[in-house]
């Protein structure tokens, strides 16, 4: 050992320790940055308060206008704001329209999404997954206005053909009482809840699928092995052990998808029509809450007036409904994460 190794390799830096001023400046910079970070986080809360505040304040303006009443809004079944003299603002037809479209969408998205998730999680060979996952991502990434176009120009004509085919049996079933006959055999409106609902169903399918699949994948391997070890077939294992174990995650995916369906605007604006009515037949045209807001505030609407302020009340109702759905969904989701934490 010719050159002795210094006891501390950093010894030669010791003379150049940063001055207290620099260190203090750094401390302040750090404080500033942390301040910015937490201000950003706080801003997300501010956004929520802004949403709630704006909706409440502007809704109040609506109820203060002559011609509007709280009771009528929440209890009346008539929504006819654009008729000259006889205006009615009862929100139920809009909720009914939204509900009808959502039910059609859910009938598509919930079962298909879960089935697809089960296939991807429990059955699909790796190569099939490699193809299917991107396809679902593409479906999830398509803008809703494209689904709206699809609903209007493809699904509606298709459904009209289907209805036409059904109507071909009108004579055969002439013996049915006219009340039944009239319900089954009729024309499909060119704007209708059915097409919009189907398109929304396809749009929300990837949400159901990906959240459900995450939930299925989160079921511990040991549970599956336990079920296989007592001689379960794949069906037994997935349907009786894995799906029940992932149930809360699946329910959460359903709620999130329904919340998306309720809040969807462009598809209903294009395909569902604009006539607010209480109906359970998806072949009718309906007005949804989102559809109403889009119709009134479209483009450069002048502020003021009953219609203008009614959009805030409808918006507040919509916000409340989706908020409840997402909060329940989140609670359920958190709970199932805890189960397997």
């Amino acid at each position: 050992m010719d050159t002795p190794i210094p006891p501390n390799p950093a010894a030669r830096f010791v003379g150049s320790v940063r001055s207290p001023g620099v260190i203090r400046a750094r401390w302040w910079v750090e404080r500033g940055i942390v301040g910015f970070l937490f201000a950003s986080a706080a801003l997300t809360i501010l956004v929520t308060f802004a949403i709630v505040g704006v909706l409440l304040v502007e809704s109040r303006k609506f109820f203060l206008l002559p011609g509007a009443s709280v009771t009528e809004f929440f209890t009346s079944g008539r929504w006819s704001p654009l008729l000259g003299g006889d205006k009615h603002f009862g929100v139920w037809p809009l909720i009914c329209g939204t509900g009808l479209v959502t039910v059609v969408a859910a009938a598509i998205a919930l079962p298909l999404g879960l089935m697809t998730a089960v296939y991807l999680s429990e059955y699909a060979p790796r190569r099939a997954r490699a193809v299917l996952k991107p396809i679902l991502e593409v479906l999830a990434g398509i803008p809703t206005v494209v689904y709206g176009y699809f609903a209007l120009t493809f699904i509606t004509p298709l459904m009209q053909k289907v209805q036409g085919f059904v109507n071909g049996f009108s004579e055969t079933f002439a013996f049915l009482p006219s009340s039944v006959h009239g319900v089954v055999f009729r024309e499909l409106d060119s704007y209708n809840a059915l097409s919009a609902g189907l398109a929304i169903g396809v749009m929300t399918l990837p949400i159901v699928c990906s959240v459900s699949e995450d939930a299925l994948q989160a079921v511990p391997r040991s549970l599956r092995e336990g079920a296989y070890a007592v001689g379960g077939t794949r069906f037994d294992v997935s349907a009786k052990v894995v799906v029940p174990a992932a149930l809360s995650g699946i329910v959460a995916s359903y709620l999130l998808a329904i919340a998306r369906a309720v809040g969807e605007t462009m598809i209903v604006a294009l395909a569902a029509g604009g006539l607010a009515q209480m109906t359970a037949d998806p072949r009718n045209q309906v007005q949804t809450m989102t559809g109403w807001m889009a119709q009134i505030l479209f483009g450069d609407a002048a502020a003021g007036g009953l219609e203008y302020y009614s959009t805030y009340v409808v918006g507040a109702t919509l916000f409340f409904i989706t908020l409840v759905l997402t909060i329940i969904g989140q609670v359920v989701l958190v709970r199932y994460r805890e189960e397997y934490a």
């Binding site: 750090e30 990434g141 462009m266 294009l270 609407a301 909060i327």
Partner: protein
């Protein structure tokens, strides 16, 4: 063995049931593929016809064969940039605050949980609600600056003559020698150019006239001549009219002569710069790129936060501990260790969020996109068109030629989204390999 030999018959057909179930699952999966192919197929079939270079170069037109999407395409690009510039810094900062500064006190922990739940809820708020918020907060700014439509303005010239007199008027005609003005409370005035010491153009948001017959008229000019001023009346009177049962929202018209004016007031924007140039700012934002982009920013903020948190969470704790053990501060650890290794994930999330913003239409319906815009935006406060809204507009028209235009627009929109996604994939690949 012994337990069960007596209890029952073995079940049959379990294999068959298993296979039927698999069949149903595969059918469900195939259904989504079929739908996707049908959707793309029908759009390309409809949209191929109008797709050409001119389609990208032309502005919207009432004639389908001449219509294009230049304004919408550029509007969307502006919007995506504004939304990203708004949401990405805020989103990443929020994610860092939540992920890297774990709360210690009980109150802080409650706040932490509350913010997390809140972000989950924001992600579930329908975009149409964000639209109405963007309209109220960004475009109209609660009406505290007055006026209902801030992007509409009258341009008035304020001339200072050599003698020091200030003439405020609407320019009717301008030549090398003389400027003809209508001064609203005086009538026509001609000012020789060589007498003008200074000229400033001012943008008026609202004129208010109190007339000699007692009328109180607030609004913007429709037409101005030396003899007659025609006004589009806006503001409170229009509100009252709407409540009374007039056709809603339609501007009323008032006509009077300059000689009828008793009092004349103007309201100007809070504004800096020239509305036709790049450097321009005004309050309220009005239905402008800035308002629309910030509204879209709100829509994608939760997405950015959630994606960034995932990316930060993927950084192993051992890296953080290593840096902290060397005496790095929290922020130094984040800047030099955590952010560099999570930046691919963050960027991927950010780009996907931007592509969501590009496809989003509902908030723009409200925060003010115009459909018939024959220019690309000049500045952040300019009015704009957007791809999905242009598509919406065309799809809503009854003629099938416009449906084909909508399909062509969809192809362009999907093309833009494809570019974004390819960029995201490339980033993932390039950064993924480097590690």
């Amino acid at each position: 063995m012994s337990l069960l030999s007596s209890v029952g018959k073995p079940r049959r057909g379990r294999g068959v049931r298993d296979r039927i179930f698999l069949g149903i699952c595969i059918a469900a999966t195939l259904a989504s593929i079929v739908v996707l192919l049908t959707l793309l197929g029908s759009i390309f079939r409809d949209g191929w016809h109008f797709l050409s270079w001119e389609f990208l170069e032309n502005f919207p037109s009432r004639k389908p064969e001449k219509a294009g999407i230049k304004s919408a395409l550029w509007g969307s690009i502006w919007l995506a940039c504004v939304a990203a510039g708004f949401a990405i810094p805020l989103g990443v900062a929020t994610a860092i605050a939540l992920e890297e500064y774990k709360p210690r006190s009980r109150v802080a922990r409650m706040m932490h949980t509350f913010i997390q739940i809140n972000i989950g809820n924001l992600a579930g708020v329908p975009s149409v609600v964000y639209g109405i918020i963007g309209l109220t907060v960004f475009a109209r700014m609660f009406g505290v600056f007055g006026g209902t439509n801030p992007t509409m303005y009258d341009r008035m010239a304020y001339l200072t003559t050599a003698s020091g007199e200030v003439i405020k008027g609407s320019v009717v005609k301008e030549t090398d020698a003389v400027i003809d003005l209508v001064v609203p409370d005086r009538g026509g005035v001609s000012v020789p150019v060589d007498q003008i010491a200074d000229r400033r153009d001012v943008y008026i948001r609202e004129h208010r006239f109190v007339l000699k017959d007692g009328r109180d008229v607030t609004g913007l000019f429709r037409e101005v001549t030396p003899e007659k001023i025609t006004m589009n009346v806006t503001g409170k009177q229009s509100d009252a009219a709407a409540v009374e049962g007039d056709e809603s929202g339609a501007a009323r018209e008032e006509v009077f002569a300059p000689s009828d004016v008793k009092e004349y007031h103007t309201k100007r924007f809070i504004q800096f710069g020239n509305p036709d140039g790049f450097f321009y700012f005004q309050l309220p934002f009005g239905p402008s790129v800035l308002a629309g982009g910030m509204t879209l920013g709100l829509v994608i903020l939760p997405i950015v936060i959630i994606a960034s948190r995932e990316a930060l969470r993927a950084v192993p704790n051992s890296l953080r501990e290593g840096a902290l053990a060397l005496g790095c501060t929290r922020w130094q650890t984040i800047r030099r260790i955590v952010l560099p290794s999570s930046i691919p994930g963050i960027m991927t999330g950010a780009i996907l969020a931007m592509s969501r913003a590009i496809g989003e239409a509902a908030p723009l319906l409200m925060a003010g996109a115009f459909l018939f815009i024959l220019q690309t935006p000049n500045n952040l406060l300019d009015s704009f068109a957007a791809l999905p809204l242009q598509i919406f507009n065309w799809a809503g028209k009854p003629q099938s030629a416009f449906h084909q235009l909508a399909a062509s627009g969809i192809i362009v929109l999907l093309g833009v989204l494809l570019v974004f996604n390819v960029v995201a994939i490339v980033i993932r690949q390039v950064f993924g390999k480097r590690e």
